[in-house]
């Protein structure tokens, strides 16, 4: 069970992080073995959620903030319940909604990565060049080198995408239809060509 000193030191470091931080990084800073740090992080998370951490008798109140493990790291967030109040102080364009075209393109990249623009275009039935550029610019998608066979640029989603989505890794993405045909790039649906 994590002791109060470790919990407190972890909190102190979490106050200054500006991107998700791994248990390993925290362990290095605190000079404590990583498993202990992991256990303490879980205890903190439970405590902020109103639970009784590590063997304590009673739980506390639900905090206005939460500790989450996303995109491979831990970070403190405000709780969604208070979004309205927080928004008045944090001017942030993050809440801008993606268009359907952007979402669909992002979805194809997420589930087919690494993937070329041509392949995404074939799946969506439209040219995706400009939408892809914007997704790259928004930091949700990045270039992933060229395909050795075709020489075309491949794309993948970023850690920022995972963070924005609120998941730890790609394996946590919602399942897509299991019957999905995996069609190759061919756009040759026209007969006799």
């Amino acid at each position: 069970m994590a002791d109060d000193g470790l919990l407190s030191a972890l909190e102190a470091v979490l106050m200054v992080v500006d991107e998700p931080v791994t248990a390993a990084q925290l362990a290095a800073a605190l000079e404590v073995p990583e498993p202990e740090v992991e256990e303490a992080l879980l205890a903190l998370r439970a405590e902020y959620d109103g639970g009784a951490p590590g063997g304590r008798v009673s739980g506390g109140r639900v905090r206005g903030f939460e500790l989450r493990n996303l995109a491979g790291g831990w970070r403190i967030y405000s709780r969604p319940l208070h979004a309205e109040a927080v928004q008045r102080f944090v001017m942030d364009g993050q809440t801008a909604r993606l268009t359907q075209a952007a979402l669909e393109t992002l979805a194809v990249v997420a589930y087919r990565q690494p993937v070329s623009r041509a392949r995404v275009s074939a799946i969506r039935g439209v040219n995706v060049d400009s939408v892809m550029k914007t997704l790259v610019q928004r930091g949700l998608v990045e270039e992933a080198g060229t395909d050795p066979e075709s020489g075309s640029m491949q794309y993948r989603t970023t850690a920022y995408f995972l963070e924005r989505l609120g998941v730890k890794d790609l394996a946590e993405l919602p399942a897509i239809s299991p019957f999905l045909p995996d069609l190759e790039e061919s756009t040759a649906i026209y007969p006799g060509r």
Binding site: R97, A107, S177, Y190
Partner: protein, 288 residues
Amino acid sequence: MTEAAPTEAGVPAEEGAAVVVGFQVRLTNFTGPFDLLLSLISKREMDVTEVALATVTDEFIAYIRALQEQGEEWALDEASEFLVIAATLLDIKAARLLPAGELDPEEDLAVLEARDLLFARLLQYKAFKEVAARLGEELTQEALRFPRLVSLEPHFAALLPELVWKHGPDEFAALAAKALAPRAESVPPSVSVEHLHSAPVSVREQAELLALRLQAEAQLSFRALVADAPDAQVVIARFLALLELFRDQVVSFEQPEALGELTVRWTGTGAISSQVSDFDSLEGEADG
């Protein structure tokens, strides 16, 4: 073909539905041909089946035609994607209009393959569309949380390791040029020609040619009408042209027995109808 353009399809509009004053048809912007096709199918509450495809073909064509008439500014490369789908739909529909076995086995197979591939692509798109909607919901939900992102307290900031800097003035300028360059949206649309593997055949031109011949001869067999066709595409174009002419009620068909000789008779009066084909006028847009 039905002339009723679809209105208000049940799909969220992108950047708002395009409405032009003075035109009655309200159109929704779709994110692509599959989106439109799915919407048309779901509007009719049908499964993705052959029947559904044949039934929605007219609406699909009518939709893109209405877009055109409305002067909708859509990207040309997207238009061509719509046309590829429209062409496939028309082929499937054409195949259904024929008595079984009329096409030669090779062409028949090609139509079947095209249909199956279209089904597969449509299903694939449907799955991604559904999962995209879920991602959208989750992104929206997640946007209610704000990460702690505050500047370091000055006494900690002072401890930051010295910055590694490897850019010379020219490299930095190149970076600036890239950062300041107009974004993708400002780039004029370009036409993708990836799917054009051979020169397109104009159904309109073929229709005019057939009309002239039929007017001169009063009646001709289909075999005779396609005897000089250089390739399968021209045969298909002429066949589609005949369907259009039949719709315009300027030709009639006679076929005494299944798989027998098809006789085409000119029944029109006066000049050749200039309204030859929905499909062709769209094709003209794509290759013109």
